[in-house]
């Protein structure tokens, strides 16, 4: 993805800006030593269905990751599916 260096820069920026916050939680010894997957949202919470809702179709959504995934919703996602948080991708419209 072309935005990767920028995204990494943003993450570093956030780390530096919010480093103190990490310290607050590190008292718990909870900071993971190995990176783990970030929590995604369940299908039921977004009312996911494996069929389109009119023009709303996962393969036209900003968050769709071909062939069968979503950046924010967990599990296998049908390109023909739909859900409540559909956002039209300008690139895919």
């Amino acid at each position: 993805m072309s935005g990767e260096p920028a995204a990494r820069s943003a993450r570093l920026s956030r780390r530096s800006l919010l480093g103190g916050a990490i310290g607050a939680v590190s008292t718990l010894g909870a900071t993971p030593k190995v990176a783990t997957a970030q929590p995604k949202i369940s299908k039921v919470a977004v009312n996911y269905q494996d069929h389109p809702d009119g023009d709303k179709r996962c393969d036209r959504c900003l968050q769709f990751q071909p062939p069968d995934a979503c950046k924010v919703v967990e599990g296998a996602i049908s390109p023909q599916g739909s859900c409540r948080i559909f956002v039209l991708s300008q690139a895919r419209s």
Binding site: L18, Q38, I41, N47, I85
Partner: protein
């Protein structure tokens, strides 16, 4: 304070009303022109999260700041979910210009630099930061300039670690939250930190009595709790709060004067179930806080103890374009006020309070929100403890609010992260501090505190 002649008050009120009308109409016209005439893009609730996720305001909020099922899970997941392409710094700004009118002038100005009625105020200016720090660590951090008290302080803060696990075929999202306000970490809009009304006047009279879990400790404590969300259905949280030292509070902009600080650690608990089916989301739960406090910081007589136990339920219909939310919370508080009684700060050695907050909202197309609510507090009379003329803590009223949120589904091209909640709110008091008439011994009636409140809540 010298009261102005009635005719002058009428003229002044008329002038304020005209000014308010111009301001409110101007804001609505501006928002409407921008919404209609300018190509729209994604917009925001807390804009830094919208920029992070790439989602519009309406994904996380029915009408901000009420959360949708998605918004609740974003928060439980530690504010870490991304999906957007924003690469700038993680900041957002909030402005709350307001106008407050009470049916009768107040006896004294509610704050220095303000009048006894018809006050315009920049109630809050807040700077937010936070969002995703790592895959599993994120934050909500708010600093606020209080335009009424005219000081800067830290505000709601919630720093989380969250991690999804798979346990014997069950999904478990577990996490830890460090925060500074009991219930600020909660994700349902029923319990105190995030319940309706989401904004209210800082310059209008408010009932004297409230339970301890209702914002009494906000920003005066630090708390740590651990939570689990099992199978996207069952939520359990347990933790505790301890007070910040006076020096720490002063350094953070909080005045410790008049506080009754927690002694030791106050345990906090939360249990809820949230089934979702189709466009329906329903929650039922319980929550509570048990605290021992040093009355007014006077340690000679030991501690009082307060146990707050609440039950709550919330139903949401999340259709397109129609959304309906119903919320209900009831809190029972038992006081053991023997230390206060010994110190002459209370008449009784035991008291209790009951608090009710119920409301229903209809939201059209994430843009128009109409809400009606009922609030009440009641309990045993204690004239010394509450300091009310009647000795009673009882108050009850209705709140009605109309709000316009033009950019929940898309902001203007020139700044797509701009969002407004422009609202008109009316509070009608049936009873105030124990009475309907003569609530203060000087002839003021509860209806004199009826409040008209207008605001232009701005986020970017």
């Amino acid at each position: 304070m010298t009261r102005r002649p009635l005719a002058a008050q009428r003229v002044a009120r008329s002038g304020y009303a005209s000014r308010l009308t111009v301001i409110m109409l101007g804001a609505m016209v501006f928002a409407a022109l921008v919404a209609i005439g300018v190509p729209s893009r994604r917009a925001v609730a807390l804009p830094l999260y919208a920029r992070q996720t790439g989602q519009p305001c309406a994904t996380c909020h029915t009408a901000f700041l009420e959360l949708t099922p998605f918004g609740r899970r974003f928060k439980l997941g530690g504010y870490t979910l991304d999906g957007g392409d924003w690469s700038g710094p993680p900041f957002a700004v909030m402005l709350q210009p307001t106008f407050t009118n009470t049916a009768a002038d107040q006896q004294e100005a509610p704050a220095p630099h303000f009048a006894t009625n018809n006050n315009l105020a920049m109630q809050q200016v807040s700077l937010f930061t936070g969002g995703r720090i790592t895959d599993n660590l994120g934050a909500f951090i708010q600093g606020t300039y209080d335009g009424v008290g005219r000081r800067f302080s830290w505000d709601n803060t919630d720093i989380r670690f969250a991690k999804p696990l798979n346990v014997d075929g069950h999904t478990l999202l577990w996490g830890v939250t460090a925060n500074n306000n009991p219930t600020v970490q909660d994700v349902w809009n029923t319990i105190p930190a995030w319940s309706f009304p989401y904004i209210s006047s800082a310059l209008a009279p408010m009932p004297t009595a409230s339970t301890f879990i209702e914002q009494v400790y906000a920003q005066q404590v630090v708390g740590l709790s651990s939570y689990g969300f099992l199978d996207d259905l069952f939520y359990l949280e347990f933790g505790g709060y301890r007070p910040l030292s006076n020096n720490t509070q002063l350094a953070l902009g909080v005045s410790p004067t008049g506080q009754s600080p927690i002694s030791g650690i106050a345990p906090y608990w939360r249990l809820a179930v949230e089934p979702n089916f189709g466009n329906h989301s329903w929650e039922a739960g319980t929550f509570g806080l048990a605290s021992k406090v040093v009355p007014m910081g006077m340690s000679g007589a030991g501690t009082d103890s307060f146990t707050d136990i609440g039950i709550d339920t919330q139903y949401q219909y999340l259709g397109d374009p129609h959304t309906v939310t119903a919320r209900l919370a009831w809190i029972h508080e038992n006081h053991n006020t023997s230390a206060s009684q010994t110190l002459g700060l209370a008449d009784n050695s035991n008291n209790n309070l009951r608090s009710l907050n119920a409301s229903v909202s209809y939201i059209y197309d994430s843009t128009w929100s109409l809400t009606a609510g009922r609030v009440s507090v009641g309990g045993t009379p204690d004239a010394t403890l509450y300091g009310t003329f009647t000795g009673s803590p009882n108050s009850a009223g209705y709140i009605f609010e109309l709000a316009y949120l033009p950019f929940s589904r898309g902001g203007p091209e020139f700044w797509p992260w701009l969002n407004f909640r422009i609202g008109l709110q009316y509070t009608h008091w049936n009873k105030f501090d124990g009475a309907t008439t003569n609530i203060d011994g000087m002839g003021r009636n509860a209806s004199g505190n009826n409040t008209f409140f207008a605001y232009i809540w701005t986020m970017f």
